[in-house]
Symmetry: C2
Subunit: 317 residues, 2 copies
């Protein structure tokens, strides 16, 4: 994969995706000693960066491919991205979602016009459900991260960040299946070659960190973490080699740290960030990533969280 | 007051205030039939537009005036605006605040380096406390809205909005003492002369609406509303005539409606908005202001709310 594919994706997304704002926080800079730029993909359409990859993938369909519709499986944000991209491009979308997905994500996905097929995570895998639908309909499955067009689309967020704030010493990115991490690091390699790209995972779902450190693909099964967007079982065939090639380090943070960061971001930065979306910021605030005297980019990846669930979490702090 | 004063304020604020993002929401447009542009002053420094007026006022102090420091009284956002402006300009600030002010506002004001003097709203007025301090120290009191430099500073938010999105049919603005409403309507009168400017107040504190409809200055005493930034007792000597001259209409919304709007904005728009900051959006979502087929600007004025208090509110819905 090359940076040119990200440039092409950016031109497809022109006028479709929001050029999300970049925020700074004096409090964060004072606490960490760094100069931190937050790229707010929680303010992206559908509430996460996932719209970028989804639209980039679906907009390349031929007329015949469009007619067949697409299938996707997702714990949430990829679902919404595919659903809205399908709606904008006139492509029928079917989303396979776990019955335990947050209500806000189910409602939003349906709101974008997708057909939602629920499955019980204890009975069957989402791959089985999606494969069966795909076989019945002859429709392709668009995976949530391990796909060149998805990775290229996700790489446009970091591209925008570098174009707005210039070169950085460090870019901190959350990691589920590493679609965003891969795309971001390809953008960094061209637009800010000296930039160290750091991936951040939830402690309970640290498969990518173990894979990165050992050089062998590691897996995890249904990790127990509030970062529901990073419960992916492993890196992919495309993303694992990209992470090994381009990423400088991987760190983990725990759910308690995530919750404290969310509280800070909501109350002080005035933005709603979901647990997965707070992974990178948490690594910076807990100093697991040392940003002292560095110019640092942080990707805030999503804001899709059930507000009542978040309210209950916050009242425990 | 003229638009030229707002232009001067904008140049003083260049590089000091954030040019806040303008957001749109497909859901809002679908529900209301309008094309709505949200100017996000909750993402302004100190979490509200009040920094604009405060910085514009303090930056015009002479060296001698700077040395004497300033005093302000405020239920919160003006306090933070003055405190940060003072810190940036090297001016000592003393803020008189009610002891019942939200903890997040007290903490933030102190965090910006201000001295905070608390008073009991049942024992004494804030004017009495501030007047005594001013007499003792020979320092000026910077009022929260009824001051030309404050009004001019607040008018820069609407100026930015018109410059970004072009002329509008309607601009909907929250109203406490009408510093923002006055400044916004002066900007509208020059940059979008056909634009109707609508003020929105909490139902319990509807003094400005009554003043507007009757043409006689009306007051209210400690109104019971969650919109704590709009509990002002009346319009001012400067703002009342400006409202009469430039504003097209005034409407009110109640606390239940405000809370539902906040819930929507937090969960769907991914931004933290305080009750007062949600006044204008509430008027649009409840259709008290009809935006059908219109291009409409809405000022989201602040995001300073105690997160645990908001969490408890949301759990009652």
């Amino acid at each position: 994969m090359t940076f040119e594919e990200i440039v092409s994706a950016a031109s497809r997304l022109e006028g479709k995706a929001i050029k999300t704002p970049v925020m700074t926080s004096r409090t964060v800079n004072k606490q960490t000693g760094g100069e931190v730029y937050f790229k707010c993909e929680n303010l992206q359409r559908t509430g996460s960066f996932k719209f970028r990859g989804a639209y980039n993938a679906l907009s390349q369909f031929t007329k015949d491919e469009k007619a067949k519709g697409v299938i996707a499986y997702s714990s949430g944000n990829h679902a919404q991205g595919i659903a809205l991209a399908g709606q904008l491009l006139g492509i029928h979308t079917t989303i396979v979602m776990p019955s335990i997905a947050p209500e806000v994500k189910l409602a939003a996905t349906k709101g974008y016009g997708a057909d939602v097929v629920l499955y019980d995570i204890n009975e069957v895998t989402r791959e089985e459900v999606a494969d069966q639908l795909a076989a019945e309909r002859g429709s392709p499955i668009i995976p949530s991260f391990d796909h060149e067009h998805i990775i290229a689309g996700q790489g446009t967020a970091a591209k925008e960040l570098f174009e707005e704030v210039g070169e950085l010493d460090m870019l901190v990115v959350c990691c589920g299946g590493a679609g965003l991490l891969s795309g971001s690091s390809i953008s960094a390699s061209v637009l800010s070659p000296q930039c160290n790209v750091i991936g951040v995972e939830p402690e309970a779902g640290n498969d990518a960190t173990r894979s990165f450190k050992s050089g062998m693909l590691q897996t995890v099964h249904n990790p127990d973490t509030i970062a529901d967007g990073a419960r992916t079982p492993s890196l992919g065939n495309l993303t694992f080699p990209l992470v090994m090639e381009y990423v400088s380090d991987m760190v983990t943070v725990n759910d308690e740290e995530l919750l404290e960061t969310m509280y800070f971001m909501w109350e002080r930065m005035k933005i709603v960030v979901e647990p997965t979306g707070a992974l990178a910021t948490t690594a910076v605030l807990t100093k697991k990533v040392d940003v002292t005297d560095k110019r640092v980019g942080v990707l805030i990846t999503g804001g899709n969280v059930d507000l009542k669930k978040a309210a209950k979490w916050f009242l425990t702090l």
